[in-house]
Amino acid sequence: MKKLSSAVLGLAFTFALGTMANAQVPTDPQIVGIVQTANRIDIDQARLALRKSTNPQVKEFANQMISDHTNLEKSVTDLANKLGAKEQTSDTAKQLKQQAAEESKKLNGLKGSDFDREYVSHEIAFHQAVIDAATNTLIPNAKNAELKSALQNAAPVLQGHLQHAQQLQQSLQGSSH
């Protein structure tokens, strides 16, 4: 049931990130805004995981998310300042925030291994959705070449997080049986 709900949520993220392609092409400042929103969401939820989880593997993963996404956020901020493309909000960014708030509320109500499983499966769905959005929408629509290549360089780290989260999910399932 929980798995299903996070799959639904993943779909919601995909939907949020996917609708902009249909609605309108995001501008570079909006792309920056979407990327930074996604970074902050992941950092916030990792902080929540550090507070709530007692599983050392989950904490290690959360620490890594904070470290990597903080660095990513900083590099995007630096680039945006350099390019004069200060981040701008968009419907997509707003939807992302809203969905993240719902997920945080849900995570706040969970404890122990239930929390760990929900957090990790949400991380999988979230990273998958961001990778898809970057590949299909953000990268093709980025007008500035430096922004485009920065997004391309960020893709492998998201892929790495996804794979790490998947390994973590398997090990959590293994330990619960």
Partner: protein, 286 residues
Amino acid sequence: MLQANRSTTAVSPAALLRFGLRVAAAGVIALTCCFSAHAATGPSHQIVIIKQMHFEPATLNVKAGDTVEWKNEDIFTHTATASDGSFDSGPIAPGSSWQTTISKAGTIAYHCGPHPNMTAQLVVAQTGESGQHEHEGAPGKEEEESLRWSPPRRPEEFHPILVNFTAALLPLAVLSDLLGRLLRRQALHTVGLWMMVYEAAITPLTVFAGWWWKSTEANQLPAKLIMVHQWLGTAAALLFIVLAVWRWRFHRRAIPPTWTYLTFGFVALLALVYQGSLGGAMVFGK
């Protein structure tokens, strides 16, 4: 003033020359020790750059006994973790590096712990082979190669060399003055004086090389060990300067150093031995 001092210490130019020659000879011996120690630390040093979520090169050919260094030039923290468990760097922060000596021949696959999609491998040839399978076991060859000397460039080369001087001069300074008092020999006091002055002059360099080394290793060092080692070393450098000034004042008053001075020298010596054991633990004690 200076003139007066010279006459009171009663050291002939010939004695000074002989002493100088002995110091030079000791220096040569010490340097030879350093260089052979340096040569024995590793036949060659290879580097893997971590950049944009990749290990470069993805396949590195090394010989058993080579040192491999991973330099993190990415914006993320990474690890170099061998799949067979033979090495694990722990977190390598952006801008820092980690190194290990590869002892086992064969192919070692490794990856980044936090980013499992980052994979690479080391192809480790037996010592005596050169990358590809040539000759098995030519024992003399490796030793010959390792004796080649190249000037030190990096802090991990400077610090161990300088440490030899710091470690040798203090016991000689204290011992010379001790023997000078027991045997009532002025020449030994002269040795004690100059050894302490050299000790005070060279140890700040040793400490500087130590801090420099630490700055390149960042957080891969045992936290408590390095914390004590860095501050004890810095304090020791200051203490040696105080001792040298103190020793110089005895010289100016043309009297042998007091037992209080010698006691302080001995305590400094004990601290230095402890300091050396901490340094050794970090380099050899894995």
